[in-house]
């Protein structure tokens, strides 16, 4: 078995034991693949991501990365198993400098940290420019780049992204999401939760639709984008909303 395939099998999880928010959910993500999870507010998308990351207790089912069982893993050991996560919005340490943020994240990397850091600064040149600045002073897009760089410093096999476009301007959304293809091309599987379906689906390979905490549909992202019925049911309102939600 390829060691990098994420295999989530029928998990149920939630904030309080005995009151699961997601039920019997199964998904997979392969290396170099971008998988998008979409669905209405409160469908359990973030809950799913958090339970994969070990931030929430799993009540049923199991999660494997390759041959390793990572269900209920302690979050701080996640990177050792090859998983990195970029949480939604508050995903950088605002009171610390860009440098401190990166050095902190680099602690997880077992190889040559200096080289890894140089590599990341080459991938995200804007971080090199702002190296000594307070992370809290960065723009929305720059923050997201910093968060991505922090996650990638650990050289993960799998990257979990929770709403990477949240709170970004349309230009920044394109910039941030535009990075994902090249990241995946380096052999990283990307599992992302995204409300902005119109921006996310075109660059995804596959997508899952979640509603009421359950798998509703799975398929090829491009097909889904063009499917009139699915578009009507799951994306019609979303599309309008996504436009309305974009900051002017």
């Amino acid at each position: 078995m390829n060691p990098q395939v994420l295999n989530v099998q029928s998990i149920s999880a939630g904030y309080v034991r005995g009151m699961p928010i997601i039920h019997d959910i199964s998904i997979t993500t392969e290396p170099e693949e971008i998988v998008c999870i979409i669905g209405p507010n409160g469908a359990g998308k973030s809950t799913l991501l958090k339970s994969i990351a070990g931030l929430l207790p799993i009540e049923q089912g199991h999660i494997r990365l390759g041959a390793t069982n990572i269900s209920g893993i302690r979050t701080d050991k996640l990177s050792r198993a090859g998983v990195a996560m970029v949480p939604q919005l508050n995903n950088i340490f605002r009171t610390m400098s860009v440098e401190q943020n990166l050095l902190l994240a680099a602690r997880r990397y077992t190889g040559n940290r200096r080289h890894r850091l140089q590599h990341m600064l080459a991938v995200f040149p804007v971080l090199d420019e702002k190296f000594k600045a307070k992370a809290g002073s960065l723009s929305g897009g720059q923050r997201q780049f910093l968060a991505l760089a922090m996650a990638l410093l650990a050289k993960p096999h799998l990257l979990l992204l929770d709403e990477p476009s949240a709170g970004l301007s349309p230009v920044a959304v394109d910039e941030v999401l535009g990075m994902l293809r090249s990241i995946a091309a380096e052999g990283v599987g990307i599992l992302m939760v995204e409300q902005n379906v119109r921006a996310a689906l075109p660059l995804s390979d596959r997508a899952y639709i979640l509603a009421d905490g359950r798998n509703q549909h799975e398929g090829d992202a491009q097909t889904m984008l063009n499917d009139p019925v699915l578009g009507e049911i799951y994306m019609g309102a979303r599309r309008a909303e996504a436009h309305a939600a974009k900051p002017v």
């Binding site: 979050t75 701080d76 340490f93 009171t95 610390m96 401190q100 050095l103 902190l104 602690r107 997880r108």
Partner: protein, 303 residues
């Protein structure tokens, strides 16, 4: 006026040391620890006992430092005491607070901290007696630095000031230059994100208790040198510590240091205008002002 300024800075620097641990725990574990000030008393009394033990080892250790009432053995005792107090703080967390945060909520921890404070304070009273005492019975004479405006300074007070500055510089270096320092800053800003970035939260919580307890112990020895040791010293300081943490902004280490100075200075300067008897109410007035005017504190973030 000048004297009040000096006294305020002196007391303020001691409060700063005590408030740093308080603000860290208050932010990371999200509860106001009313027993934190008792760690100050414990640190001071541990040093008293250890001083007696250490000075029993060799007569040379009882030599006083030039001009000070502080002996070599007291300095050794303080170092041992800060270790012991830090460990005890971590132990109390393991025995009580950790269990409560797993089974109940933050307010239950606040509640328990009241009980622990009461127990610790009275156990100290049982063991050491209810009367206040001093590390040294020698009378330390103050030097008149200036006669108009009047400024009297005891050598011990300069020692305290230098010590607190050194400790705060060391802490500054720890959190800005070492990766364990970054990790502590990270946990105090966003515990969940810190875990995502590979930081062991449980280990950092232990570190926060160790650090908070150690700083409290140093504050305790300094306070006892400047005033006296008394079983109720923790109770007398607790409100000032909260005032320092709130004025500075909960979770901010620099805020706590700044808040301590502000509370120390304000309490000292206020005595120029109000009768001494009202002094214990000053921290409450400061807290209320801060909560009405700037609830996130000077260096705290909006939450």
């Amino acid at each position: 006026m000048l004297q009040s300024l000096f006294d305020g800075i002196l007391v303020g620097s001691i409060l700063s040391l005590g408030a740093i641990g308080l603000t860290l725990i208050m932010h990371i574990l999200r509860f106001a620890n009313f027993s934190h000030a008792e760690l100050i008393a414990l640190g001071a009394y541990f040093a008293l006992t250890l001083d007696a033990m250490v000075s029993g080892l060799s007569a040379t250790l009882t030599t006083r430092l030039p001009h000070l009432s502080v002996s070599v053995s007291l300095i050794l005792a303080m170092l041992l005491s800060l270790l012991l107090t830090g460990l005890l703080a971590a132990l109390i967390d393991k025995l009580v607070f950790k269990r409560l945060r797993e089974n109940a909520g933050p307010l239950t921890m606040v509640f328990a901290s009241f009980g622990i404070g009461l127990i610790v304070r009275n156990v100290i009273g049982l063991i050491y007696g209810l009367k206040s005492t001093h590390y040294s019975n020698d009378i330390a004479f103050a030097l008149m630095v200036s006669s108009d405006p009047l400024l009297l300074i005891k050598p011990d007070q300069l020692f305290i000031l230098v010590l607190t500055i050194v400790v705060m510089l060391a802490l500054h270096l720890l959190i800005t230059r070492t990766s364990i320092g970054y990790a502590l800053l990270a946990v105090s800003e966003n515990p969940e994100l810190a875990q995502v970035n590979g930081i062991n939260l449980a280990a950092m919580i232990r570190l926060a208790w160790l650090l908070g307890g150690s700083l409290a112990a140093i504050a305790g020895v300094c306070y006892a040198l400047n005033n006296q040791l008394s079983p109720v010293m923790g109770r007398d300081l607790v409100l000032s510590l909260f005032a320092a943490a709130i004025v500075g902004g909960i979770g901010s280490i620099y805020g706590a240091a700044l808040g301590g100075l502000i509370v120390g200075l304000a309490s000292s300067l206020a005595l120029l205008y109000i009768p001494t008897g009202y002094k214990p109410a000053m921290p409450f007035v400061i807290i209320l002002l801060a909560l009405y005017v700037r609830p996130n504190g000077l260096l705290g973030e909006e939450r």
